[in-house]
């Protein structure tokens, strides 16, 4: 019971902080927008390109945007060393990490909701695209990035070059999730192939790493 309420309180606190400081969301949106624009210059944004590698383009933009959110997930607790305050408390680390995970997920999801239509317009998404499937993939994929990312955000928070370490840890471990979400998105964009086993894989990844992250939360949030 107290686990759930602490998780919810952490989410509330994060969202409130984000509303006041707007440090993550604005950076995320701008960053992802730039990625999409740069892509459209780097490759010619035609419908044929989108049918071939659209899923990859979309997820690279999401991934970059997500990295900002995940870096802030525990970076947000830096001012006046609030994280030390959490570490000194007897609170359940798992509940705290679960809250951080949920808030990162929400922020990434909001950014993606804004980016997705933009992507569809700028890259001439084919009319065959199955948007329901793409949204479902985005939810599962974002979950995967958020659960791994908050864990590694907590881990890299001890290091001096925090922002540098996070992608080094997160990207290799997330490779299977990235493959699955890109492939599933590609299937839904073109309407060719079968996506359900990618979604199953993604879901399995989500469950395994959520459980593992919460079980090992003590390790990454202990006193220095």
């Amino acid at each position: 019971m107290s686990f759930v309420s602490l998780t919810l309180e952490t989410v509330k606190r994060d969202l409130r902080l984000e509303l006041r400081t707007r440090e993550a969301m604005s950076a995320m949106l701008f960053y992802a927008l730039l990625v999409i624009v740069i892509f459209s210059f780097a490759f010619e944004a035609e419908a044929s390109l989108t049918t071939r590698v659209g899923g990859g383009l979309l997820w690279v933009a999401f991934l970059f945007a997500g990295m900002v959110a995940l870096d802030r997930a525990l970076g947000r607790e830096q001012p006046d060393n609030c994280l030390a305050g959490v570490r000194m408390s007897p609170a359940s680390r798992s509940a705290f990490l679960a809250g951080k995970f949920a808030s990162s997920f929400l922020m990434m999801a909001v950014t993606e909701a804004i980016l997705l239509p933009l992507f569809a317009v700028l890259f001439n998404a084919p009319p065959t695209a199955h948007w329901g499937g793409i949204v479902g993939t985005a939810v599962l994929g974002t979950w995967a990035l958020a659960t791994n990312g908050t864990y590694f955000s907590a881990m890299s928070n001890y290091a001096r070059q925090r922002s540098l370490l996070l992608p080094l840890l997160l990207l290799p471990v997330s490779v299977p999730a990235v493959i699955a979400m890109v492939q599933a998105t590609q299937v839904y964009l073109t309407g060719e192939g079968v996506a359900h086993y990618w979604l199953k894989l993604l879901f399995g990844f989500d469950v395994i790493y959520t459980v593992l992250g919460l079980l090992l939360a003590d390790l990454v949030l202990e006193a220095e």
């Binding site: 309180e9 006041r20 570490r87 007897p90």
Partner: protein, 277 residues
């Protein structure tokens, strides 16, 4: 009352016991084999020059740092046990309050972290003791140094610790703030909370501390000569004088006997292994 601790044998277990606590930062020994105990309701003055290890020791006891060697027990529970963390509060130069949130919002979150059931009541009670009722609605970023200190003290008292650690609480405070902080601390001690205060401005607390722990280069050295110094000390700071006067009246204890008592308890309380005689 916060002084009412769960469990029976609270006479036997000290509020705080450090056994051979050492901490290295890389190859730098910030703290070396510090051992001492602090009884419940007593006050310990932690003295020493800058970089002597005072902050490190306090952060270790608060559970923010792990000792490289040695153990810390709070109210009989060894850190990092949950029970130990519940009993201790740290007031440091970092407030542990997020500047973008109001004091009340910060406190509500800490209430959640410590699993406090009736958070609003607990916040009100802690704010009253810290003299911070009028600050609750304000954003932490807008507070002055003194106000921030009061807000931080409220946070520290929120979960009713039996051991309160204060790291340089008087630094960068104006005289009025010092006076009100001293008043709060005196009240807390009267309520049976064990205090451990590190300070440069020792004249503010030396007249009412029970024990002295002097750290130098990470090591504990007792200050045996302090009684002699105390007799001839200049109480020129009117704030300190006012507070000692009030203490003598309120605590029903004259300042001269207090000095003797202090001398004895300093010898008993500090573990001989941690003391150079």
């Amino acid at each position: 009352m916060p002084a009412e601790l769960p469990g029976g044998g609270r006479e036997a277990t000290p509020a705080l016991q450090c056994r051979q606590v050492s901490r290295f930062f890389g190859s730098f020994p910030a703290l070396r084999n510090v051992s001492f105990r602090l009884e419940r309701g007593r006050m310990l003055a932690l003295l020493g020059s800058n970089g002597a290890g005072k902050s490190t020791l306090l952060r270790i006891i608060a559970g923010a740092l792990r000792p490289t060697y040695g153990t810390v027990s709070i109210a009989g529970v060894e850190l990092p046990g949950e029970g130990a963390k519940r009993q201790v509060g740290l007031l440091s130069h970092e407030s542990f309050l997020h500047p973008a949130l109001s004091v009340a919002e910060n406190l509500a979150y800490y209430g959640q972290l410590y699993g406090i059931d009736d958070a609003p009541a607990a916040i009100a009670a802690a704010a009253e003791r810290a003299g911070a009722q009028h600050l609750l609605k304000l954003r932490v970023a807008e507070l002055s140094q003194g106000m921030r200190q009061k807000a931080a003290l409220t946070r520290t008292l929120l979960h009713r610790p039996s051991l309160l650690l204060l790291d340089e609480p008087f630094a960068s405070l104006d005289r009025a703030s010092v006076a009100s902080l001293l008043e709060s601390l005196r009240q807390l001690r009267a309520d049976g909370i064990a205090l451990m205060i590190s300070t440069h401005t020792e004249h503010l607390i030396e007249s009412w501390a029970d024990q002295f722990l002097h750290l130098e280069r990470g090591m504990a050295i007792s200050r045996q000569g302090i009684e002699g110094e105390a007799e001839g000390r200049r109480l020129d700071d009117h704030v300190a004088a006012a507070v000692t006067g009030r203490e003598a009246a309120g605590g029903g204890r004259a300042s001269q006997p207090a000095l003797n008592q202090r001398g004895e308890s300093a010898n008993q309380g500090v573990d001989p292994r941690g003391v150079r005689r």
